[in-house]
């Protein structure tokens, strides 16, 4: 995999003079960056009060997608292990959470991590062959795992409810039921925010660097003293944990967990988000998720505009148009902008830094 040029950004910048090693590694090293963070937090906190219900609903959906896509990016973008079955781990998380919430009546703050942990366990199981097989073969194995997962969910009706799925009660905080999008927003968005911060910082630690080393050349990484099996399994576990948390949030958000949501199509959507956003970039995962959730809505708007009254026909056409556009995006980004939206942002930033001169 090509090395990303983004490390250049960590070097000295205008108006910032790092005096120690700790200073140089700091992310929030200037008033500008503190200001940016404060602005982002303020925006997220104010959004549900000023925006209408539709925007809040979409914001929740984007946040959930971000959690899942960040997980997939840890596995595929940072560790270089291609998974075409990520949605299966969403499913494991969703069903584990749903069972915990309905059968055992666990509160949400236990049920959601339980979903994440069960997904992580499933991830380790699927990741076990990853030492022996890699690249294409691993991708095929994850694809097979995806279909086997769907089969298990559809046939283990006593636990999963089969095709009908499981109804999930709204989470409860004290006496307050989080039963509207507005209320769930305050659960979903902080979780997504925290998980993004964790992931971004992970790649400044020994473990995160080991992931990247494995991606670049796994045998060379082993020579450097990185335990390959442990690192790959950890990456699988972490990615699936993220997927599981996203699945659990999804279960609470849609109030149902059913196998339809966690099929091959959803896996492909998440991979598209990773590629469009940028492989090996947290910012990319965020941008990619935003893009991939917003895009079908735009298409939907266009479809109703074009086809007018015939709703059933336009829904069918919409599904095809979605596939077409997703496919074009994947191929187009891979050919023309392999590092995705994140790279566009980086380039723009670099250009702005020396504006009005040319880079």
């Amino acid at each position: 995999m090509k090395t990303r040029p983004s490390l250049a950004l960590l070097g000295p910048r205008c108006g910032v003079l790092p005096l120690s090693h700790a200073d140089a590694g700091r992310r929030l090293d200037s008033p500008l960056r503190w200001g940016g963070l404060a602005l982002l937090v303020a925006f997220l906190a104010l959004l549900p009060f000023v925006a209408d219900g539709y925007i809040v609903y979409m914001a929740c959906l984007v946040a959930i997608t971000i959690v899942s896509v960040v997980g997939l990016n840890i596995l595929t973008g940072y560790t270089g292990l291609l998974s075409i079955g990520h949605a299966a781990f969403n499913g494991v998380g969703a069903f584990a959470c749903a069972v915990a919430a309905t059968r055992w009546e666990l509160p949400f703050w236990l049920a959601i991590p339980f979903g994440g942990l069960m997904a992580a366990a499933a991830g380790v199981l699927v990741g076990l062959p990853s030492l022996r097989i890699k690249g294409l073969y691993l991708a095929i194995a994850t694809l097979a795992a995806q279909f086997i997962f769907l089969f298990v969910v559809q046939h283990w009706t006593s636990v999963t409810g089969g095709d009908r799925g499981l109804q999930v009660p709204s989470p409860q905080v004290g006496g307050l039921r989080l039963d509207s999008d507005f209320r769930l927003y305050w659960l979903i968005v902080p979780v997504a925010f925290a998980m993004c911060v964790f992931a971004a910082n992970l790649f400044r630690t020994r473990i995160g660097r080991a992931f990247i080393a494995v991606r670049e050349r796994d045998y060379s990484a082993e020579v450097l003293g990185i335990d390959l099996l442990r690192t790959k399994l950890l990456s699988f576990a972490l990615a699936s944990f993220y997927a599981g948390i996203a699945g659990a949030l999804m279960a609470y958000f849609f109030r149902i967990a059913n196998p339809e949501q966690y099929g091959f199509g959803s896996s492909i959507l998440q991979l598209t988000a990773v590629i469009v956003g940028g492989l090996g970039s947290i910012l990319g995962s965020i941008l990619g998720s935003l893009f991939m959730v917003a895009l079908p809505e735009v298409l939907k708007g266009l479809a109703t505009l074009l086809s007018g009254a015939d709703a059933a026909r336009s829904a069918v056409m919409l599904a095809s148009a979605r596939e077409l556009v997703f496919g074009l995006l994947i191929v187009g980004f891979l050919l023309l902008e392999p590092f995705g939206l994140a790279e566009i942002v980086r380039r723009t930033r670099a250009r702005l830094a020396v504006w009005p001169f040319r880079t």
């Binding site: 086997i148 089969f151 077409l324 995006l329 191929v331």
Partner: protein
Amino acid sequence: MSPFSLFLEYSLVGLASGGMYALIALGFVLVFKGTGVFNFAQGELMMVGAYVYLTLTQMLGAHWALGLLAAVAVGFALGALVERVVLRPLAGQPTLSIVMATVGLGLVLKGGAGLLFGPEQRQLPELLPRKPVFVGEILIPGGVFWTFVASLAIVLACLAWFRFTRSGVAMRAAASSQANAYAVGINVPAISAATWGLAASTGALAGVLLSALNSLTPHLGDVALAVLAVLIVGGLDSLAGVIVGGLAIGWLQAMTGAYLGGSWREVMPYGVVLLVLLVRPHGLFGRKEIERI
């Protein structure tokens, strides 16, 4: 009928449908062997071929032979175009990019077909005789039997072509070592494009045969996912493995379908995939990948 003759009947029908799998898998193996790319869009190339055939024979009223010829020609052109426009610029990129490019391509074709032809199931005109064939006292549906014969004939023709013709040998040379192929004056890029074209042509034939047997929707290509098992069992780069793998999976699927039920039939190939990947990743006949550091 005794349980044993029932078993025989299931076995024969299973083996017969395995011939179809072998033909579908052939397109994957050609491309993988020739260019090292696993083409997730192969199923969609099949589907395109079938729609070309449908358009010509049913909508324009052409003779079936003309339709078949057109399907093969369009398949060839499309395959070569895809190689030139998408895969060649990605040469040397990590597996991830190449795999995702073919997945994206498949989505484009599927979505495009959906927009053009709509989601309706379409019935192709009869291509092969429907009259059932009797083996002893066991009955095999005519469509299944003749599809088996046609599929196997196409696969064997490809094998013979690789073995005995000049262009076939050139393809094998380019597959085994690009540098050496260049050195003896083979036009490797042209060979790659031709390999893709050939794979797409066999795919188009498979698509026509398959949809004449069942029916045609833009989702015809999804069958190709079930064929993964054939490829993994036989080995991704083995032409002979395609036949053995196809027959084996066809038989296994008939068995699971008959004795365990329809939904097991769907999931069985994926179980086989995982099992083989764990025990013998290069399959029965595939070449073991040796990685140099």
